[in-house]
């Protein structure tokens, strides 16, 4: 196990993440197959492969990330090949091969946000949610907090340059984010997790 996988095996190597506890494990259910078929049907016959991206998006929405088992299944649904799907999954930084936390922070690092304090904000959020910023690297830009509640990832432009610095938490965009705003967001997230735990 300690041996690092070769460049080819690394494509599907498991990347364990504490975030997995907040997402269901990938499983091919009749509903999932139904949804995939629905997406494939949007494209003309013979062009099933066009549905690869929509299905990837759906799987990521449902299960948080694209696990190794999902790749051959997506390929099968789209009459494509696993290597083709793997090529797409590894190409887009927005598609995760590792499970993010329940709340995924995307911090813009493009010019406009950088000028309005994006870098400092990044450092502050990292400290606040308890991740080590030094772990963020080119190969693995996403870091998940130990409790799995938070994850953070620097991203390119979030298309709101006039109101930097911008941060996106899951699907919600926050602009002109200050430290105070971060504190509010983080505590709201924590509150939500605590409430959900209680209800269980």
């Amino acid at each position: 196990m300690s041996e690092t996988p070769n460049a080819i095996d690394a494509i599907t190597a498991a990347q364990p993440s504490p975030g997995e506890q907040f997402f269901p494990k990938f499983e091919v259910t009749p509903e999932l197959v139904e949804k995939a078929k629905e997406l494939v049907a949007l494209y003309p016959e013979g062009k099933e492969q066009s549905a690869v991206l929509p299905i990837i998006h759906h799987v990521q929405e449902e299960f948080g990330y694209i696990c190794a088992d999902a790749i051959p299944w997506i390929a099968e649904m789209c009459k494509s090949t696993p290597i083709h799907v793997a090529g797409i999954v590894t190409f887009y930084p927005g598609i995760h091969r590792k499970c993010p936390g329940k709340f995924h922070f995307r911090v813009c690092r493009t010019l406009a946000c950088a000028l309005s304090g994006g870098e400092e904000l990044m450092a502050y959020i990292c400290k606040k949610i308890g991740v080590n910023q030094a772990e963020i690297c080119d190969e693995e830009p996403m870091v998940v907090s130990e409790n799995g509640i938070f994850s953070i990832e620097p991203v390119e432009c979030l298309a709101n340059c006039g109101f930097g610095p911008n941060v996106m938490v899951n699907d919600t965009l926050y602009s002109q984010v200050t430290r105070k705003k971060v504190d509010e967001i983080v505590s709201a997230c924590k509150k939500q997790v605590a409430a959900e735990k209680k209800n269980k």
Binding site: N6, A7, I8, D9, I11, T12, I71, P72, S80, T81, P82, I83, H84, A86, G87, T90, F91, Y92, P93, E139
Partner: protein, 576 residues
């Protein structure tokens, strides 16, 4: 001095469906729709390419083939085009270069491959390609036939400005039973990906990652195990894909390549045999758009080990007494002995089994020998297999068509010979180029009951071990000759290495035997070479009329209409 041409070149070209293109200052005519790269290469102007391969779809990703291009200026409203004294419009050169692979020629287009713009573009492309290249040429199999190496030498700057650390990727990855991948050497031309997808139809290779981490890979758990996988080694312009068989065996600049044909099936795939000092190191396909395009199956490519095998027979072997072991002998003594023995064989009780793996020239000599001996029981050993829908023919003999032409009906007499051997009505057997215990189906113990067994073959087999006399012939790599493939195309075999040991070309053994047996026909015994035999045959056989060694050429010539087609070639033609 110059008179105005009565008909403009553009109209003259259009009448032929062609367009006029100026390449490096000279005007040429090309059919409409020709790619700029193909047009330039066809007139001897080299355009460097990594990703472009004429048999694959265009990717346009390497940017190596950038050329300067120009067109006549667009006319102002109401203006009429101006023609110079040669009838062409002046060319307005574009400030940026275009890729020669993805663009097609047009009327009055100008191309410059020697312009400063191209020089700069190529230097820039190479500088980028080399930023992450490991520069391990000293241990790379591709060195000597590597496009990156050649182009860097021709167009590169010689120094590089990239001082950052290089991206690390996978090295020496086994991606299939016969192919190894080095992702760092790769220039991401994706020829291998396109080959597997478009020609083989198995999408096992793909590109993963993004930007500097881009790499060719197969999906974990899958393998590049198609019977055509080694073609990716040939089309890889660099040393990213290497053949496990050829890895670290020999530097390519020591090898001599001989154009010849493959003898594993009736397709007669055109190949090059790469040799050094009488040793065969590898076989690669040779382009022939009518036979095998640019490809060949791995099973045929790797079937060359028998040529330099230990099991080759290097001297004539004779059994001096019944039951005695075979002993090496000399040619003269052996042939004289064989002649004596053959004289005592009753023709009615003698049979000849020859091979459709023999060349036309050899079969012609077999026929001469049979006629001299008065033997009528003669046949080849048919071999059938499965047609793989690509290049492998169901006929696993390379020259069945030639055998049929020379010997008449084939494949029908073998059963009678087999029965004859069993019930002792055949007491003398001559096996030429075949292990009769194998595909001919004569059991080994039946051979023991024969009074006389004469064998000519290049490698030890169950048959040669039982033989009273073994005459060492040669393999396809050691001889000249012609064969006719399943589609009726006559093709040449060329000698890549000298016959091993004392072995002699089969046609020469047969000719000498026939001569010693008393044949005085000059058309047989006076033939000094397979080329002359071919000319003799051209006079006798109607389809071969007018053929000479020279006019067959390296591509061969269709001489018979067999109605058989090669699936891969048909698909390629349909695509056009």
């Amino acid at each position: 001095m110059s008179t105005k041409p009565t008909i403009l070149p553009k109209d003259a070209a259009a009448a032929e469906g062609k367009v006029n293109v100026q390449i490096n200052g000279k005007w040429y005519r090309f059919p409409k729709g020709t790619r700029i790269a193909d047009a330039c290469n066809s007139v001897g102007v080299h355009v460097p390419c990594f990703c472009y391969h004429p048999k694959l779809s265009v990717a346009g990703s390497c940017r190596m083939c950038l050329v300067e291009q120009g067109m006549p200026p667009r006319l102002a409203p109401g203006a009429t085009p101006m023609y110079n004294k040669d009838g062409y419009q002046d060319i307005q050169w574009m400030p940026r270069a275009v890729i020669a692979c993805a663009n097609t020629v047009a009327e009055n287009m100008g191309i410059r491959t020697d312009a400063k713009l191209c020089e700069e573009a190529r230097r820039g492309v190479l500088e980028f390609l080399l930023t992450n290249h490991p520069l391990d040429c000293p241990i790379c199999d591709q060195a000597g036939e590597c496009k990156l190496q050649e182009y860097t030498n021709d167009y590169g700057s010689g120094t590089h400005r990239f001082t950052e650390s290089k991206t690390k990727k996978g090295k020496n990855l086994s991606i299939g039973p016969r192919v190894n991948l080095d992702q760092e050497r790769c220039v991401l031309c994706r020829r291998c990906v396109r080959f597997m997808k478009e020609i083989v139809g198995e999408e096992v290779l793909g590109v993963v990652g993004r930007g500097t981490h881009n790499a060719i890979a197969c999906y974990p758990g899958t393998q590049l195990d198609s019977n055509y996988s080694m073609n990716v080694v040939d089309i890889c312009p660099v040393g990213a894909m290497t053949s496990k068989d050829f890895r670290f065996k020999m530097r390519v600049w020591f090898l001599k390549s001989t154009p010849t044909i493959d003898v594993n099936c009736g397709t007669g795939t055109n190949i090059n045999i790469w040799t050094r000092e009488q040793q065969v190191y590898r076989i690669t396909p040779r382009q022939n758009d009518e036979v095998n395009s640019c490809w060949m199956p791995d099973s045929h490519r790797l079937n060359y080990k028998f040529i330099n095998s230990e099991a080759r027979i290097k001297t004539p072997l004779v059994k001096t007494d019944a039951g005695a072991p075979q002993r090496p002998s000399t040619w003269d003594a052996t042939l004289n002995m064989v002649v004596e023995q053959l004289h005592s064989c009753a023709p009615a009780e003698t049979a000849i089994i020859c091979s459709a793996r023999m060349t036309n020239e050899e079969l012609y000599m077999v026929r001469a020998l049979a006629r001299q001996l008065g033997v009528t029981k003669i046949d080849i050993v048919p071999r059938k297999g499965e047609n793989d829908g690509m290049l492998i023919s169901e006929d696993r003999n390379p020259n069945s068509t030639g055998a049929k032409m020379i010997l008449g009906k084939t494949g029908t007499g073998l059963a009678a010979i087999r029965r004859g051997v069993k019930n002792h009505s055949i007491r003398f057997l001559i096996a030429l180029g075949e292990d009769v215990t194998a595909d001919a189906g004569i059991p080994e113990e039946d051979l023991d009951t024969l009074d006389y067994l004469l064998v000519m073959d290049h490698t030890e087999s169950a048959t040669t071990k039982k033989a009273d006399v073994v005459l060492p012939g040669v393999t396809f790599a050691e001889k000249y000759g012609t064969m006719i493939n399943v589609a009726g195309r006559i093709q040449r075999l060329n000698k890549a290495i000298e016959p091993l040991g004392e072995a002699r070309p089969d046609w020469d053994i047969l000719r000498r035997l026939t001569e010693l047996l008393g044949c005085d026909c000059p058309r047989v015994i006076a033939c000094p070479s397979p080329m002359i035999i071919l000319e003799e045959m051209a006079q006798e056989f109607e389809p071969m009329k007018g053929l000479t060694w020279g006019n067959i050429g390296n591509e061969g010539k269709v001489i018979l209409d067999t109605g058989v087609t090669i699936p891969l070639i048909e698909r390629e033609k349909a695509k056009k």
